[in-house]
């Protein structure tokens, strides 16, 4: 009973975070700010949904497998976000004009 309610809450919460991440992807101005939305809200969204699936099974071993998957996403999401951001900046994608400071370009100008 409690488990079912918790699963339902996790399902709706996770789906909401996924929706928020995609709204952020639509509304934010440049690729770097979009990465913020995708790497944070997106990870939390799919992670919560995975936890809901693990919780619904009602088996501790399966729950821990889902938890391991969640931790795996938490480990990989910042790595791919970091790699993309570094690459995009290095190659020279412009930051949006509302950007107020860029110390990386100051220290490492484009050739």
């Amino acid at each position: 009973m409690v488990l079912t309610v918790l699963t339902a809450a996790l399902l709706v919460g996770g789906a909401l975070f996924a929706l928020i991440a995609s709204i952020g992807l639509l509304r934010l101005p440049d690729v770097f700010t979009r990465m913020h939305a995708a790497s944070k809200a997106g990870t939390v969204g799919s992670g919560l949904l995975l936890l809901a699936a693990g919780l619904h099974a009602g088996d501790l071993a399966i729950f821990f497998r889902a938890l391991a998957g969640f931790l795996f996403f938490i480990l990989t999401a910042p790595i791919s976000a970091h790699l993309l951001a570094k690459t995009a900046h290095q190659v020279g994608y412009r930051l949006h004009r509302s950007t107020i400071i860029d110390e990386l370009r100051r220290d490492r100008p484009l050739e």
Binding site: R34, R94, L110
Partner: protein, 118 residues
Amino acid sequence: MTAQALLDGAIWLALALLGLSFFATAYRVITGPTLADRVVGLDMLVGIAIGFIAVIAVKTGFTLYIDVAIALGLVGFLATVAFARFILSRKTADEQGALEPNQGAERGVQPATTGKGE
């Protein structure tokens, strides 16, 4: 019984929300404007697909779906890394839509603000 009804409602709501976010992200992937935006969108699409799989795992009761979701997460991570390497190997951001229409003239090649602090 009422808890089961709540769960069913939550599953349908979650599927609807995920569907909405799927379309929003797909719009971003299609419109771009740059390759990097599309890669971020694709990364997000993988995340949403994982969410779908997890919801379907709850709906059907097959716990094997969790392993599928984890495997998809691994593949998505590798795909994003590969795309990042690809962008790096192209060595250029010079493509159509890389700049917003009113952005290029203002900022030029070098960004206007490179100073310390404000």
